[in-house]
């Protein structure tokens, strides 16, 4: 039992120490890693646990970001109040859009989520008077008690993201979380044990959106601005990339994926503008050669070590065991 969470604790301690040994630039990168890790982990509730591919998850991320941005800039609402409000608005959005999405499965689910994602994008983009349209919103400044330096906001983000990830972990290990796995593995059977699959999928969709909204809410003050791009399909692709790179088969996969992806992006963009090219090649290589992502690869090479360290069982994701 102790071993199960040891790894997570080590990671947390590492996260506390790092900002003191790296430059401010990298503290910014670390903050971004954390925010996107929460975003990707929320995505994995739909993908890894429920077995559906949402290609429009950035819509809820963006709604969260804009809610916080708008409230802070236009109404001077304190950031701490904005965070739960962002979660609420993202959840509300998902309640409406998700109702329709869960009537579909597979490729049609993916396309509908993408279409809805684009719908949200266009609404934000075109509603110039309210959202600032193409220009986005500028001047979203973190509250005074966090100051202007990178470290305070980083630690604030660390706390919020850790709480968020713990919440997602608890949900994924609860009966509801196992019901999601059941729906993923055999939705039909799950109906026959008396579960209204569509309603459960809808709830999970909302939960995932709520935490994506929280991640988005953290992004605004971090970036000092928000733009409609946050909801476009390229942004929706990011959590998919991250989850696949890190490993869709366990809870920590998206976290590792975010670290790798964000780190690489920061590194590559500092000496070339062709990050799309590089990231495209990386993804293709990962999908073709490392279908389990980083964690999947490690699980294969060092199974006993991995089992001791992460405690994340094979049943937690789209397992690849030969049946």
């Amino acid at each position: 039992m102790k071993n199960r969470y040891l790894f997570a604790v080590i990671l947390f301690l590492l996260a506390i120490v790092l900002p003191f040994v790296v430059t401010e630039f990298w503290v910014h990168v670390l903050t971004e890693i954390l925010i996107l890790a929460l975003f990707a982990a929320s995505f994995n509730m739909i993908f890894g646990y429920m077995g559906q591919l949402s290609f429009g998850h950035a819509a809820y991320y963006g709604v969260g970001a804009y809610t916080t941005g708008l409230l802070m800039v236009k109404a001077n609402v304190p950031m701490l109040v904005c965070l739960p409000l962002s979660m609420f608005s993202a959840g509300l959005c998902a309640a409406v859009l998700g109702y329709f999405c869960v009537k579909l499965r597979g490729i049609y689910f993916a396309i509908l989520t993408m279409a809805f994602g684009q719908l949200v994008y266009y609404i934000i983009f075109q509603w110039y008077s309210f959202t600032g349209g193409d220009n986005g919103l500028q001047g979203i400044v973190p509250p005074d008690f966090l100051g202007r330096a990178a470290n305070p906001y980083y630690f604030f983000t660390l706390i919020v993201v850790t709480v968020g990830l713990i919440a997602l972990w608890i949900i994924s290990e609860s009966p509801f979380g196992y019901t999601m796995r059941a729906i993923r593995d055999n939705a039909e059977r799950t109906e026959f044990i008396g579960i209204n699959v569509q309603r459960y999928m809808h709830l999970n969709f909302i939960i995932a959106a709520v935490f994506a909204g929280l991640a988005g809410a953290l992004w605004g003050p971090f970036n000092r601005s928000v733009a409609p791009d946050l909801t476009n399909w390229q942004h929706s692709g990011m959590p998919v990339f991250m989850t696949v790179i890190g490993g869709p088969f366990s809870f920590l996969g998206p976290l590792f994926g975010s670290a790798i992806y964000t780190f690489l992006m920061a590194l590559v963009t500092s000496f070339t503008e062709y990050w799309p090219l590089v990231s495209g090649v990386i993804i293709i290589l990962v999908v073709l050669l490392m279908p389990g992502g980083l964690l999947g690869l490690l699980n294969e090479k060092f199974p006993s070590l991995m089992r001791k360290v992460t405690g994340a069982g094979e049943t937690n994701g789209q397992g690849r065991q030969e049946l």
């Binding site: 329709f100 579909l104 049609y108 993916a110 509908l112 279409a115 809805f116 684009q118 719908l119 495209g280």
Partner: protein, 294 residues
Amino acid sequence: MDITSLFAQFLSGLTYGTILFLVAAGLSLIFGVMNILNFAHAALWLMGAYFSWTFWSLMQGNSFAFWLSIPLAGFAAAAVGWLIEVVLIKRIYKRELYEQLLITYSLALILSDTIKLTWGVTNKLVVRPEMIQKPVFIFGAPLDSYFLFVIAAGAVVATGLWWFLKYTRYGHIVKAAVFSREMVGALGIPIPRIFTWVFTLGIFLAGFAGGIQVPIGSVTLGMDTAIIIQAFCVVVIGGFGSLLGTLVGSLIVGEVMSFTILFWPEGAMVLIFIITAAILIVRPWGLFGTPMRT
């Protein structure tokens, strides 16, 4: 709003719809036969546009440069498409949905940057020959004379595809494959070879559409991201794997865009998405698609 302007709007929508049709036809065909959603389709369309500009620039002395560059663009794009299919797409036939989507999505990223590397960031313009520089008047409504060519080209391609699917042996195989790949394979027809040719054909259409697009305005980076989403909407509305569906879908999208811009410019795309979402909810296989394909 008088009749002439409305008619002009209609023709403009028809033209845009034709371009969409040419882009979406390949997308629909590829998905219908191979069950792969080609995210990179619009990037190849854009590449076709750039190819066309290059050919036109190279053939400056030739009086047919303008007209030749368009089909040549199609062939050039098709060559790239063939290479992509053989090297990459072949490996993902049996992969999971998310893997296929990620691969074509990454391909789109790679191709976009490749275009940037090859042709740079400046707009590319093609100069039209004399005869299509002035507008033509149909029932009093002015129409860019080039648009006539576009619509005609679209009609020719649509007819050609229809004839191919209905009357040739290969066309029958393709149609059958849309219904059931397994059956076609069981009949001893090599599926991988069909896939390669269908993919190549689909990309030819995209490249050709790119070539046609160039004289309408200019060619710039980023045009593909706008059109790929619209092409998806067309295919969803019309139905995957259905030629008629793609035709109808592209006309619907073209005209809805054209007319909505008149009274609600911001809302044009929003309306398209609402229609697309509605179709997905009520009839996911589209207006003319095959229900079995879920």
